[in-house]
Symmetry: C2
Subunit: 385 residues, 2 copies
Amino acid sequence: MKRADRLSTIKPFRVMEIMERAAQLEASGRSVIHMEVGEPDFAVCKEISSAGADAINRGDTKYTSATGLPELRRTISDYYLGFGIEVNPDQIVVTSGGSGGLLLLAAALLNPSERVLVTDPGYPCNEVFAETVGAHVKRIPVYAESHFQPHWQDLESRWDDSVRGALLASPSNPTGTMIRRRELQTIVDEACDRGFLIVDEIYQGLVGDQPEYRSVLSLSSAPIVLQSFSKYFGMTGWRLGWIVIPEDLIDGVRKLAQNLFISPSTIAQRAAMAAFTVDAMAEHERRRKIFRERASHLQRGLERLGLAVPATPDGAFYLYVDVSASGMTASRLSRRLLDEYLVATTPGLDFGEVNAERYLRFACTVDVEVMDQVLERIAHALAQG
Amino acid sequence: MKRADRLSTIKPFRVMEIMERAAQLEASGRSVIHMEVGEPDFAVCKEISSAGADAINRGDTKYTSATGLPELRRTISDYYLGFGIEVNPDQIVVTSGGSGGLLLLAAALLNPSERVLVTDPGYPCNEVFAETVGAHVKRIPVYAESHFQPHWQDLESRWDDSVRGALLASPSNPTGTMIRRRELQTIVDEACDRGFLIVDEIYQGLVGDQPEYRSVLSLSSAPIVLQSFSKYFGMTGWRLGWIVIPEDLIDGVRKLAQNLFISPSTIAQRAAMAAFTVDAMAEHERRRKIFRERASHLQRGLERLGLAVPATPDGAFYLYVDVSASGMTASRLSRRLLDEYLVATTPGLDFGEVNAERYLRFACTVDVEVMDQVLERIAHALAQG
């Protein structure tokens, strides 16, 4: 059977090999420390769980509106209002995870053979969403010196006739760095004049105490925002997210959502209504602080070992660590850390090609006590060379 | 902002207008009988609900493997084995609804500008999945005389160089008719020689007591099967389905699933494990029989009123009714039934163009007592002309 050409452009996730190898080790009775997957280690908070189970128990599991329950869209709108940002609930489309949002946006904005600008390193699935709709990505290399984020000139110099817009992440995966507010303002003003600008704010809640901004929407109503209940709200396996789109995209995206999804999970939507309650938000804030502390703790420990974190993350729960001082490629070190020291990490090659073999991504999804064990094991690995 | 061209090819669902109009009527205090939406009226059975709530309560809500929980894939494999069909669990990919399966298959099988054969009338979203990946549909008109299903010659005569395969549904939405076994064997043999054949078996469980076949996989292992937990298992808002794919597609589809979905809903997957238990299956079978009785009841009633059901359905829970004897177009009759008689139905235009204004689709999602009221109201509508 002939398959679509795009299948050959999709690179396998290295992290999947890592996870399979980790599973083999665990099957043989060994205990692996998991710092490779972008999934919070906390259980989803009890307010969310209860609301989900209640929905099931009362039989509230039928299809909803394709763009999500009106009350959930109002609640999300109120969430933005808490940051002083006004968003019409009609501009909010509830999606099947952040993934569902990426598909809707790719389908709504990109024709076959057109291009979208993305960063390298960046979220690896972005390219697959573009390829799925027949389009392509054009990569902007970003470096530690510029905080792993692009300047407007980096976009402008690549913005040829094939480019319809840009998809940037703030905070970024894998680096956790945010686009500086002043730079973002320039990018918004210029990019939205030429085409679309999508800002992936999936890690938006997981930032420091005083972020420069809470959403790009505080700078302008023109950009599109991608969001998810997976990270800050911890609802990974529930598969729920949302997008904020300009008024003139509402009808088109609604038609796409009706056809491509019918509706997002009803149970997840009912559960998500409870994610914004006072008690749940207090718990999310507590976890946010823990993620910040863990990242700082790990960064200090790694730096003591001579490994650099050249751009201190502003958010998310990742550290993007320069391991070149180890004398090994990141792939090799990642493999050795797993095989010999039972610590799973994600090598930079999963996020692009730019300096990829210099970097390892650590997800700060273990306690500081476990991190201390990890640091000890890394010290051994480095000593052995 | 420039939008993708595909947005202008997507037709709005008429049924959405019907539903909005029905909601207006209900908001003004009137009670509407809903026969427009393809959603079982039964609550999801208690075994499924309990398993879903249990998963939430024990915190089993993290990401799963992108292709679904291995134990669920084994359970689905066992389900086929109950029909004497052997399917390797690795060939089963659990998806986010039947919708997720359609996206994976379109992305895996169709390049931009290639075509897939579909029937008219047929499931309207099929075209949008093709357009999403930059491909197109080529329509095969099907008529009551051929049971609203194509012969191989109908496919063969349209299978030019742009065509990569065919997507057929058995039982069909909107007509409920199955492809005859002998005809299907010819189609399988010929189509799988030329390209791909996807058989949408979303309504497969909802068939008569003695269907000619329980799955196309009993005829050959070459076709691809699309399935869903929404209809026979009643799990609409949970968003879960599966596909059965040939061995040589497994790697490609797995990579796509990892990138496009991360994983299907964990809660829905845990719940679906209980869908195949003895007690749950007994309840599903009871409901299957009720749907058959309702369809027969409504068909007899409509025929007494002079409206024809030219192809008696073999399954699903739909009646595709020729309303030309009313002297009205289906759109007009549908609108009048709603506005004046508070009965919501779906006009044929939602399913294609071929004789579309002659047909109304009724979803048999109300009790026979309510159907009798519907029949009385239709009698009035016809008498008024």
